[in-house]
């Protein structure tokens, strides 16, 4: 892949979960304005090394006839407009623009450390939506090279410690977080959809990110991770700890990694293995009521 750095490019840098994400973009392209959820994450120290780079081009995308193997065309966010291909040592993501006359075209190296993004004719709102989403997809893969996993979870901050609620879409992760906010004193939301988890010398930390689903909660904060809780809707409230294998299997489906780069996927499993050795995992069958939050809280914070 050919990524040339032109002198006309400006750099806009963000630091998310201690990783520096750099956009290289035409100087007159209002990138920072287009990414309001990234505002708290701006990183002005240009001496720091870049971990992940995305170069933005407004030129016409050189979409090749042969885009390689179609790996998936399923996307909750983009529906039919989305395609994801593997071609030689790159991955290609395309999204048809809203007008339907051109496509967003993203070419990433195998580990998603470097990507090149071609912006088609589009409204500012569409640019915000697509670039925010693509940056999340890229971050979710490239972060794996740095002991960091992005997970699908809603995270409550209780007394300075994070609790990550997991579950399939529609299970009620956000609802359960809100129940904690309402009924458990000293609780606020850290992130409602896509936090990052990192193994550090200070233990396993959970980080807010610029991605939080439908809830605008983009906090540049980190907390020690108290535990994971997988949720399942039920006609009663019941909490059970999941040890070893069960804990690993309860968290695995909520972790981000593409399956088509087996090295990245294996790295994700290795990081998760280390996290599970340090962080407990619970399983909560629950109603959407105060008692569910209270039961969960007393299991995770038995000394309060």
């Amino acid at each position: 892949m050919n990524l040339t750095k032109s002198s006309e490019l400006s750099q806009t840098r963000y630091r998310i979960a201690e990783l520096v994400l750099e956009f290289n973009h035409p100087a007159d392209y209002p990138l920072a304005q287009l990414l309001p959820s990234f505002r708290d994450f701006q990183w002005l120290d240009s001496a720091d090394t870049t971990d992940i780079s995305i170069t933005v081009s407004l030129s016409k995308a050189p979409i090749p006839e042969d885009k390689g193997i179609l790996r998936t065309d399923e996307s909750i966010a983009w529906g039919d407009r989305f395609r994801f291909y593997e071609k030689e040592d790159t991955f290609i993501t395309t999204i048809i623009n809203e007008q339907g006359n051109a496509a967003w075209y993203l070419q990433s190296d195998r580990n998603f450390e470097h990507s090149l993004l071609y912006v088609p004719e589009s409204t500012a709102d569409e640019q915000t939506g697509v670039i925010t989403w693509m940056a999340m997809m890229i971050f979710g893969q490239a972060s794996l090279l740095h002991q960091t996993i992005m997970i699908h979870a809603s995270v409550a901050n209780h007394a300075g410690r994070g609790v990550a609620f997991l579950g399939k879409s529609g299970t009620g992760k956000s609802t359960h977080s809100r129940l904690w906010l309402q009924h458990i004193p000293n609780t606020v939301l850290l992130n409602d959809d896509n936090p990052a988890i990192r193994i550090t010398d200070k233990g396993v930390l959970i980080y807010g990110t610029p991605w939080s689903g439908k809830t605008p909660c983009y906090k540049n904060e980190q907390l020690p991770l108290q535990g994971f809780v997988r949720l399942q809707q039920a006609p009663m409230n019941e909490f059970e700890w999941q040890n070893g294998l069960k804990g690993f299997i309860a968290v695995l489906p909520s972790c981000t990694s593409i399956r088509w780069n087996k090295e990245l996927f294996s790295t994700m499993n290795t990081i998760l293995e280390k996290i599970i050795a340090q962080v407990p995992v619970g399983y909560l069958k629950c109603l959407p009521d105060a008692a569910a939050a209270e039961l969960c809280h007393s299991a995770l914070f038995p000394n309060e």
Binding site: L70, E74, L245, G247, F248, S266, N269
Partner: protein, 89 residues
């Protein structure tokens, strides 16, 4: 035959597992669990070209089993590895 080199045996507490990421469009990724003797054998065999006799030998040397039992256990294990697609094609 040979174990698939892209699979990694993982140990969590006292449990052993292998996660096999599905390469199809639909995600049918699988988690295999291994008991401690199967996990031990996996570690002995990984990266090597082997046959059933090698497994029988390993079992006889390290476990208190007679040769017939070892042969039958080795066959069962190999069949499992084969059926689940854990061997190199």
């Amino acid at each position: 035959m040979k174990l698939r080199s892209d699979l990694v045996l993982r140990t969590i507490g006292s449990d052993h597992l292998i996660v096999d990421p599905s390469q199809d469009m639909v995600d049918l990724s699988t988690v295999y669990t291994l008991n401690s003797s199967a996990a031990w054998l996996w570690e002995q065999l990984k990266g090597k070209e082997f046959n059933i006799d090698a497994i029988v030998e390993l079992l006889c040397e390290n476990y208190d089993v007679d040769i017939d039992q070892a042969k039958s256990d080795a066959e069962t294990l190999l069949q499992d590895f084969q059926n689940q697609g854990l061997l190199e094609k």
